[in-house]
Amino acid sequence: MVLEFEKPIADLEQKLQEMKDLAKGKNIDLSADIQSLEDKIQTLKKETFENLTRWQRVQLSRHADRPYALDYIHEITNDFIEIHGDRNVKDDKAMVGGLGDIHGRTVMFIGQQKGRNTKQRQERNFGMANPEGYRKALRLMKMAEKFGKPIVTLIDTPGAFPGLEAEERGQGEAIARNLKEMFKLKVPVICIIIGEGASGGALGIAIGDKVFMLENTWYSVISPESCSSILWRSWDYKEQAAEALKLTAKDMLSNKLIDGIISEPLGGAHKNLKMMATTLKATIVEALSELDKLEADKRIEMRIDKFCAMGVVKE
């Protein structure tokens, strides 16, 4: 899939390929031209991806090739054992989790999971968890706390599922409980937005000592589309809504609503999963070693104080 703003790059890349094929087939030396075209592509890429609009970043966060939670988990852990079920209703496939080894240390991973093809998307419910997903997440967090293992959550959801059964089983209560309980967890909690961070559905696993966003992700109270439909009464103002919501990693950091940005490979996380996973792993390891230095009570106090300082009011 090529996004609108990626087209000029894709066109040049195609030209480059043609040139390379030509050089090989006809056995002529085009290395100077090839080099110059490669430089041109590199410059264009840099220019394009440094100057993305907010809406373009939203598009990147939803890119069909973008790595999902399990892609990262498998990439950065050695032994990973997935854990299933909320012990009440069912196993929510939109919320995954399990124990994994990262640098000889066991970490509890939890995250929303999207699907790659139609069948998977259905199975994963497009990464929209039901209440049992949030309750499964909480069960895993409590287990991590019991065994003194740190928690890493990977957030990637267009929202908590707005379905009939979700309401019957208390979607609101499930998210609310997670918010409160996550403030009490005695183990370190690191939360990373890896794709979409939509509203309460994202926040439901995003209360942490450290909250990071990947460079091309968004995190806000509502998606630009829904915001457009409510405030402008039309679906056509999504670009404008994205601008108004200030939902990118840079915006969220400058408003002190997150703790840091994790940079992505040029062109987005999907261009180089290995490289992205390495950066992600390094960030987790570094954050953990920092959090390890604090007593549990101190960590909890700082976690609470951090979120309580968020907001702008006039007295």
Binding site: A160, F161, P162, G163, L164, A166, E167, E168, R169, G170, Q171, G172, E173, I175, A176, R177, L179, K180, E181, F183, K184, S199, G200, L203, G204, I207, Y219, S220, V221, I222, C227, I230, L231, W232, A244, L245, K246, L247, D251, M252, N255, L257, R303, I304, F307, C308, M310, G311, V312, V313, K314, E315
Partner: protein
């Protein structure tokens, strides 16, 4: 030839110029019963003929719940900032100013401390009139401070929710108010101070997904709309009509997320008894 001829051009009133109808002497319930507003007031704003609970605000709830309507308001002067310089059909700052003027409220929640049947209580009550009772920084901060007051003075906390959810014009800041209020409730938990959440019509979105559902006791007025997603969104998602009574207080009670439903006319006494039982 037409019977009536329009002589004046452009007599359509633009939305901005339309005036709110003045409060009349009579109130008509959705079922069509008509009641005198004076009688309504003396009946805790419940229609005696069909038990319809009229939507009311903090002023009325305080009047119903506090002994002799005596209370001390906390943080009454807090007003909203505009951290994102948000503009949709009009700038957020203009919207706030206009709403303050129209409603004579400073934001969508008011906090007060006083006595309810002799029991000390801190009450935060939302006002739906103020941008749909939406939760922005002021709502989050005032609730956080109300809980701080509860903690400091060891007084039970009663939250009366009535909200469409988060305030979009504060985007990320609004979302984090869910976290902030839940953090304070975690502290209240640890201190063993009771928190009663009263859900009224309507309570949806981020408010349901944070403090409204976190009471030691969650109670509601009859017939209130209570849910996470709004009914329109759910209908569009599942592509089917919703069953009758879906997301009503009665439905939520039946599914185990409320402790009981209380008629507004008995509310004060029920709450008084509850607070006494929790204290003794």
């Amino acid at each position: 030839m037409a019977w009536f001829k329009r002589t004046d051009k452009g007599i359509k009133t633009s939305t901005e110029e339309k005036k709110d109808a003045p409060d009349g002497l009579w109130y008509k319930t959705p079922k069509g019963n008509i009641i005198h507003t004076r009688e309504l007031k003396s009946n805790a704003y419940v229609c005696p003929d069909d038990d319809y609970h009229v939507k009311i605000g903090s002023k009325e709830y305080f009047e119903i719940l506090f002994d002799e309507n005596k209370f001390e308001e906390l943080d009454g002067n807090l007003t909203s900032g505009d951290p994102l310089q948000f503009v949709d059909s009009k700038p957020y700052t203009t919207r706030i100013e206009e709403t303050i003027k129209k409603t004579e409220l400073n934001d969508a929640v008011r906090t007060a401390v006083g006595k309810l049947n002799g029991e000390d209580v801190v009450i935060s009550c939302m006002d739906f009139n103020f941008i749909g009772g939406s939760m922005g920084s002021v709502v989050g901060e005032k609730i956080a401070r109300a809980i701080d007051y509860s903690l400091k003075n060891k007084i039970p906390f009663l939250m009366i929710s009535k909200s469409g959810g988060a305030r979009m014009m504060e985007a990320g800041f609004s979302l984090m108010q869910m976290a902030k209020t839940s953090a304070k409730l975690a502290l209240l938990d640890n201190a063993g101070i009771p928190y009663i959440s009263l859900l009224t019509d309507p309570t949806t979105g981020g408010v349901t997904a944070s403090y409204a559902m976190l009471g030691d006791l969650n109670i509601a007025e009859p017939g209130a709309l209570i849910g996470f997603a709004g009914p329109r969104v759910i209908r569009e998602t599942i592509g089917k009509d919703l069953p009758k009574g879906f997301q009503s207080s009665e439905f939520v009670l039946e599914h185990g997320f409320l402790d009981f439903i209380v008629d507004r006319r008995q509310m004060k006494n029920r709450l008084g008894t509850l607070l006494k039982l929790l204290r003794n």
